[in-house]
């Protein structure tokens, strides 16, 4: 993937660049908001990572300007202020996701991956069935089957599985699950995600030979064959 990182803190962008290069991506770093606007309207990127606080043009204005210049690449905001307002403002300005500093690189990578493979809005509406190996999810009839056997899922387990299946093969972090499945924009003090994952696992994996739902140590989960 070709990724643009707009960040003025050297330690942060070195950390991000190193990680992205190791993961096999192409990464450009621009430290100034105004330069980034000029550059990003010319060059095609798969994903952009934009810090909220930038010299020149601040991150919010940069993203607004990019969106009005019809730049459609998904954008991940970075911020050091862990506020809910910032998240909403960022999304309203045209950002697609939001990550609060300090963050683990695995969290950033997981989110960048999820953004990059996000299908265009109209395409996602057409898909009514998801499948991974012998696991099938019918989004219209709200049913789940594995190896021809019906599996009864609670509504929240269904959304959890749907999100994991849509991101088949990608690492999904605990925070991403909390945000997408439960709309929790805070860090719970109890093991909400772990509990629900283990219940889901008991239903879709335990009775079968090959496990599909994998734990990625220190990061999150991934569903794949």
């Amino acid at each position: 993937m070709r990724i643009l990182v707009v960040e003025d803190d050297q330690r942060t962008f070195e950390y991000i660049r190193k990680g992205l290069l190791e993961a096999g991506h192409v990464c450009d770093v621009i430290e100034d908001g105004t330069d980034a606007l000029a550059h990003a309207t010319r060059e095609p990127y798969d994903v952009m990572v934009v810090d909220r606080m930038l010299p020149g043009l601040d991150g919010l204005s940069l993203v607004k300007a990019l969106r009005s210049a019809a730049v459609k690449a998904p954008i991940l905001f970075l911020t050091s202020v862990g506020g809910v307002d910032d998240r909403v403002e960022g999304l309203e300005a045209g950002g697609d996701d939001y990550l609060v500093k300090p963050f683990a690189f695995s969290e950033l990578m997981a989110r960048v991956n999820a953004l990059a493979r996000r299908p265009p809005p109209q395409a996602s509406a057409e898909k009514t069935k998801l499948s991974v190996l012998d696991l099938e999810l019918d989004l219209v009839r709200r049913t789940c089957r594995r190896a021809g056997k019906d599996i009864e899922l609670m509504p929240r387990e269904f959304s959890l599985l749907e999100y994991l299946m849509r991101n088949e093969g990608r690492v999904i972090t605990r925070t991403m699950l909390l945000e997408r499945v439960w709309e929790f924009h805070f860090d719970p003090q109890t093991s909400v995600v772990e509990t629900h994952i283990s219940r889901l696992r008991a239903k879709i994996d335990k009775p079968f030979e090959l496990p599909l739902l994998h734990t990625v140590r220190n990061t999150g989960y991934s569903l794949h064959a």
Binding site: G83, V84, D85, H185, T190, N218
Partner: protein
């Protein structure tokens, strides 16, 4: 300095008041002068008409008339009055003036047209026929002018005394007002220099200056309490961070030692990382509370249903509870009204309360979320059958970083309830803690949305 004095409000008011007084005095005097003069002139006319009637009544006999006019003339002092009796041809028969004649009826004549008259004084004259003769009676207006003059003098003196008194009183009030204002200003200067105990001295009069003074004092009390609170919080934060920082230091030191021995350092570094996360989450929670308290979130409030929020929480934590051998139940009245608020924050509020229950209650406990409408409020209670909170501690648990002594050793930042309180305050909701025998009941009363 003189210009400074003139800029002071009391002095300016005094000068203004004095000017208004003086002006109104002049206007009043002018009106009184005109009215009195008119009244006196009317009386003079009356007296002239009376005299004319008395002489005329005598009869039409020319000798009697002559005698009467002569008598009146003789009785006149200082040429105050004029009398004239003429025959049809205008020849003077009697009287104290020699003028050829006067216009018929009322007229005012100057003394220059008369002989034997007081100079510079006007006369009011009535002239009319009596049979074939013609009688003229007049009186000078000097008395009117004298009375008017007297009155003007009196008003002038009264005015002077009044203005002098107003000036003295004004200066007195101005100086005193100025002194009180200066006292307020010097108190504020003390506060500005950092002395938060300085207070404005109030008089017993309870006037407007005292009212402002009292408001300022109340604001200073609150400010002092806030500053004290901040100071306390900074101390608490420092203490709160010392533990994880210390542990982190130990872990890193252990890692260095292990590294020198060639042993695996991963577990120790992971421990250091976990401590770093703890520190970060404490800061996150503090920043979040501060952000919520700033009130900016209110701009994003919408009317929303609490039911799906509570159902989501019951669903998310129900599984956690049963894994802990606890139970979580949601009991809500159907058709709950909407509230005006922020869904993300309200989710966090109730999640925090439920998590508190889950973390502080032993296995076998049950936690119940109840929601019902009570008049203009939606009341949500989160009750548990755990150890509860002693009554004396119930107010303190909302303080930042406060933890019950016995829960010092358990995890948690001590910020959960402060966050709950901050979110509730933002929504205009009341939070109260009570006992549920055994256990704790947290009661949140949220005003229902205006449209509901």
């Amino acid at each position: 300095m003189p210009s400074a004095i003139f800029r002071s409000t009391p002095v300016r008011l005094t000068v203004l008041l004095g000017a208004v007084f003086g002006l109104s005095l002049v206007i009043t005097a002018a009106i009184a002068f005109v009215l009195v003069r008119q009244e006196l002139a009317a009386r003079v006319d009356q007296s002239v008409a009376d005299t004319f009637a008395i002489i005329a009544r005598a009869n039409t006999d020319v000798d009697d008339l002559q005698e009467s006019v002569d008598n009146h003339s003789a009785a006149t002092l200082d040429d105050d009055s004029i009398y004239l009796l003429q025959d049809a041809s205008g020849r003077r028969l009697a009287g104290n003036v020699t003028t050829a004649g006067f216009a018929e009826g009322w007229s005012t004549v100057g003394s220059d047209t008369l002989e034997n008259a007081e100079p510079g004084v006007d006369y009011r004259v009535l002239s009319g026929p009596i049979g074939q003769y013609r009688l003229t009676v007049g009186t000078n207006l000097s008395e009117v002018d004298e009375v008017a003059m007297l009155m003007l003098t009196a008003l002038g003196w009264a005015g002077a005394v009044l203005v002098a008194l107003v000036a003295v009183a004004g200066v007195f009030v101005a100086v005193r007002g100025q002194r009180r204002l200066e006292q307020i200003s010097s108190t504020m200067a003390d506060v500005g220099r950092g002395d938060l105990r300085a207070r404005i001295h109030l008089s017993r009069r309870n006037d407007d200056v005292d009212r402002i003074g009292r408001d300022v004092n109340v604001a200073l009390d609150r400010l002092a309490a806030l500053v004290e609170g901040m100071r306390q919080v900074s101390v608490d934060i420092a203490h709160e961070l010392k533990t994880p920082l210390n542990r982190m230091g130990i872990a890193i030191e252990g890692a260095i030692e292990s590294n020198e021995r060639g042993a695996d350092v991963t577990p120790m570094l992971e421990q250091a990382q976990a401590e770093g996360r703890t520190i970060n989450s404490t800061f996150d929670a503090l920043l979040r509370i501060a952000q919520i308290e700033s009130g900016a979130r209110r701009a994003r409030f919408t009317d929303l249903d609490l039911a799906p929020i509570l159902e989501n929480i019951a669903d998310a934590y129900g599984a956690v509870a049963s894994d802990n051998q606890q139970s979580l139940e949601l009991i809500q009245e159907p058709g709950l009204p909407q509230v005006h608020g922020d869904a993300d924050l309200l989710t966090q509020l109730f999640a925090n309360l439920v998590e508190n229950g889950l973390r502080h209650c032993p296995p076998g406990s049950s936690i119940i979320i109840g929601a019902a409408r009570q008049a203009s409020h939606l009341v949500v209670t989160v009750s548990d059958t755990g150890p509860g909170i002693p009554e004396a501690e119930r107010e303190k648990v909302f303080r930042r970083l406060y933890r019950l002594e016995k829960s010092r050793t358990t995890s948690g930042s001590g910020l959960g309830l402060s966050l709950v309180k901050a979110i509730a305050d933002l929504h205009g909701a009341r939070v109260s803690l009570g006992a549920s025998d055994p256990g704790l009941v947290v009661r949140i009363e949220i005003p229902v949305a205006r449209s509901a």
